[in-house]
Amino acid sequence: MPTDYAFPDSAAKAAAATEAPEFQTEKMSLAMGPSHPSTHGVLRLSLELDGEIVTKCDPVLGYLHRGDEKIAENMTYNQFVPYTDRLDYLAPLANNAAYAIAVEKLANLTVPPRCQAIRVITSEMARISAHLLGLGAYGIDVGAWSVFLYSFTEREKLYKLFEDLTGARFTTSYSRIGGLARDVPEGWNANVDAFCDQFLPILEEILKLLTRNKIFMDRTIGVGVISKEDAIGYGLTGPNLRGSGVDFDLRKAKPYSGYEQYEFDIPVGSKGDCYDRYLCRGEEMRQSVRIIKQAIKNFPGGDWYAKDAVRIFAPRKEKVLTSMEELINNFMIVTEGPQMPAGEVYFEAENPKGALGFFIVSKGGGVPYRLKIRGPSFCNLSILPKVCQGNLVSDVVSILGSLDFVMGECDR
């Protein structure tokens, strides 16, 4: 096999070798990933090591690139909803909602309060589920197996609720432009409420496994410190940004889907190390439960889809089967897509991993001319070369886990 790299300090190495041949050292290239357990998915880190110290880290992306943006240009707005499941595949319900809100913004359409409340509940459930996986996997990365077992038990209960709501555990495809796939089933809200009640004490138990755990603290406190300036400069969002002490959450700063009605707090870190990012995620789950309970308590009645948006939201099945106009309308929406005005919008929502943004360029009609997806994990990972440098290889695992990325939305 020909080597296509050169040792960067070969001149220095040669000079050292002539002086003291028995002490010569050389840097080592190490490919970490793409199938490494701590690179959660298919990320490859091309590391350059001096002993155990990382001197250079070059992330190699694209193993999960599917060309989602190209595909979006070739299908109607509603057809793209299943593709949003596969962006951050740990929180598909939140992606569905973010995408639908972005397109509704293009149409200048406001959905009824009931639809907004359902989207809030499902997004926050998705946040809990994503953070539970993040914590569980992070625990495994740094050697705490049991967290994973507890958190996955809870995720399973959430998946049961997702299945009751959408028919699917994983790829929910729950949003439609102008509404939802269906209303919440009878008694579902009460089940969610019951889940929240039993979840809070278990969450405390799960967090107790890590928060004062000596090994976990040693592996995370003071490791991978990201300053406030760097966090903003590299475009970090979500718990990674707030862990660095920036008090910015889109749910508070640019409220959407009725988030302004709910009372919740934004946890903010003080040092910006791995431990702070972990603490932020833990607290966010408590706050999510708070939001869900409020939304269920004041659950609005009325429509669950925008009834007046006849060119956008397909009519109900019983109407399609009885009325000629509705049948034609349904046919038009399914074949040509929801009719949108020409223009440009950008919308981003506070997803579990950070701000998931959609920039839509429309020339009118049912298909976007250009749809750019801003994946938060893509931006969050861009800080890796800087933050990994000078750390031990074992700390790279810790840093990766604390950034809590998902390659589905990074590579798109």
């Binding site: 694209g62 060309g67 190209k70 919008v345 250009r370 893509f378």
Partner: protein, 209 residues
């Protein structure tokens, strides 16, 4: 709806070449490519747009002139508002834009992605390599003249390609939800699950089965 007066007028007072861009949400500004870095620096330093949300480009079609526009989205984490800055690339065949990776470190990867998928070259970028497609990939897939199915291309690892004579082949398009017309194809070719050639609309049902 056009840009609210404050952001736009502040920019235009210093950059008379800037013009308001039609938008459905946030203030949007058209600037000449030569002014882009100055405008973005000005927005960051005087109007508290401290957060670079996104850098991307739009291909307006093979016939369009200007063909490519670069789009920057900025956010103010203190004032909680967005602004969109758009600049058209001068050349339609060799689109070039200035880098802003010295202003926001996060622009580095965004610009690499835009170069990779749309072929806009960012001048002054410290490390303008492909990021999502593999090194040595010859096309820019998000350009409008690139087909959705893809183009037959050598494998990323040339040694494997030489040995196996395989290539990165276009995706099979039939059966996908984005197929508008099946053209001359008959049902058997169009439907991947019906590959039993012994009995279809071309060859009749065998007499004795």
């Amino acid at each position: 709806m056009t840009a609210p007066a404050d952001v736009f007028t502040a920019v235009q007072s210093q950059f008379p070449a800037a013009s308001a861009r039609p938008t459905l949400d946030h203030p949007a500004i058209n600037v000449p490519m030569a002014d882009a870095v100055a405008v973005l620096t000005n927005l960051r330093d005087t109007q508290a747009f401290d957060f670079l949300v996104d850098v991307t480009a739009v291909d307006w079609g093979v016939e369009a002139t200007p063909r490519f526009s670069v789009v920057w989205h900025l956010l103010s984490t203190t004032k909680h508002n967005y602004v969109r800055v758009v600049a058209a690339c001068v050349s339609d065949t060799e689109p070039v834009a200035p880098t802003i990776s010295h202003l926001w470190a996060g622009a580095n990867w965004h610009e690499r992605e835009t170069f990779d998928l749309l072929g806009v070259r960012f001048e002054g970028h410290p490390d303008l390599r492909r990021i999502l497609m593999w090194d040595g990939y010859p096309h820019h897939p998000l350009r409008k003249d690139f087909p959705l199915a893809g183009i037959d291309t050598p494998l990323p690892d040339l040694e494997v390609g030489e040995l196996t004579k395989a290539t990165a082949a276009p995706a099979p398009m039939m059966g996908g939800p984005f197929v508008a017309s099946v053209g001359e194809m008959n049902m058997t070719d169009a439907e991947p699950s019906a590959k039993d050639e012994s009995w279809n609309e071309r060859s009749n049902k065998p007499a004795a089965l």
